[in-house]
Amino acid sequence: MAEFVPHPELPPPASSVGVVGWMRRNLFSGWLNSLLTVVALYLVVTALPPLLNWAFFSADFVGESRDACDSGGACWVFVNARFSTFMYGFYPAAQAWRVDLIFGTLLLLMSPLFFTGFRYKLQLGGFILFVYPWIAFGLMHGGLLGLPVVETAKWGGLSLTLLLAAVGCIAALPLGVLLALGRRSTDMPVVQTMCVVFIEFWRGVPLITVLFMSSVMLPLFLPEGVSFDKLLRALIGITLFQSAYMAEVVRGGLQAIPKGQYEAADALGLGYWRKMGLIILPQALKIVIPGIVNTFIALFKDTTLVIIVGLLEILGMVQNALNDPNWLGFSTEGYVFTAFVFWIFCFSMSRYSQWLERKLHTGHKR
């Protein structure tokens, strides 16, 4: 019998690799694809130069008032002049360092979490989630250590947006997990029914009505003289609302875990909470990272709705500035700037989730 000789390894044909290969595969793989490529190219060529021209080349960046804007492009002077109110709202300028300190410290605290080798992630994460919010609140609100009080009505701008989004996310996720577990606990019908009713109620109403009810209706039910902070009411409303969505996302993850995982955990005698906490949730939450981040992004953008109860986050502050007689007529710049800020944050969240998915992937399905 002839000896086995392996076929020699050959290079791939030149037309399937490199720039030419990439273009053939992705841009001109058929007549329809080629046509779309040409149309897209045409749109880019016609739309991009005027856009760049407006935003950069003939735009004005520096100046004190609208008089500086005479080049015909975008007037970023407006954004420049009102920048601090977009960031801090009506927070006193002399105290703005407190806001900077809070968010700067938060960034510093969070940075080690992005490094794989850091050992005390759990402790640091716990500190950020459970301890830091109280420190941040104390610093923001003041009233201790000689810091002057800045009541919540003065909070606003991007710092308020971030506060609403952060508290909403941090509180909605654990609440959503509990609701999802409750909804799946078929052996406890009372708990299950309560969770189902809660989730379906909050998913059935628009957030804007929740906020409106919390500010207008709630005081009617409370005894005379008792009043909640407006911001607190908005926060509770957002959290409850988003936790219902979160619960459904997490439930999807729980359903994706094979029955064998539950059985193996049971057979080892882990008990319900350890089974869920150590085996099921780590896998389920990993599966639904895209859904969780999706909910976070939606929440982040939904914070703009608090304008209905008179809280001015970044979009509210921009609209407020647009009413300034000195700056009438710059709504395009204002909205483009706001959109850009939102895009930066939402895009970062999206990228972070993709990075997290890759990092947590352990090379298998089951």
Binding site: D266, A267, L268, L270, R274, Q283, G363, R366
Partner: protein
Amino acid sequence: MAESANAAQAPSQRTDEVMIELRGVHKWYDKFHVLRDINLTVTKGERIVVCGPSGSGKSTMIRCINRLEEHQQGQIIVDGTELTSDLKQIEHIRKEVGMVFQHFNLFPHITVLENCVLAPMWVRKMPRKEAEEIAMNYLGRVKIPDQAMKYPGQLSGGQQQRVAIARSLCMNPRIMLFDEPTSALDPEMIKEVLDVMVELAESGMTMICVTHEMGFAKTVADRVIFMDRGEIIEQNEPHEFFNNPQNERTKLFLSQILNH
């Protein structure tokens, strides 16, 4: 594999201490009667192989023993504790009863070593260092200590099943249940898993094993049980069971699986 060494007539490890007792156990799935009046006593160190056609209730029976399935009538007493709906007792029994599944059911999000130390650390409250030593010892016994830092998804089926056996053993159980442990494996991996099981049987572990590996039954079983339609049709020591089956149904089953 010394066939005569473990012959049922001279069970070296068996004692009279009763480990598992099923008395008149019935179970229904909705209206479907899956287990019908099951009576079974297993003594300490006894090795039992359960066989029978699919749907005969053999898996359901052993899954009742650690309460993965609930029985509706009769009594199941494991290691002196009766299984009721009392969660404390169920968890107590599960600590003492290890189980190996057809599809391994390793936890894919943690390493092989973490799979092994998780239950001892969280259920038995063992310090990590001690748990890791025990885990490495058992991973050595199933001959894959070098895979300890890998994730289950990086191992072959046979390796995964051996990890699953080691994971159960790390809890130091008094009883091991095997639910078709080789049915999901490629043929060339069956032997490595069976070898581990034979070694475990020789160490004196009380075992109930649902399997179609008749070679394994002949080698290590003290008793072979044949089930059909939710009933125990026949049970005997392996030599008699295979060479002199009494029931017509048993004869038919054996002729089908042995002469193919």
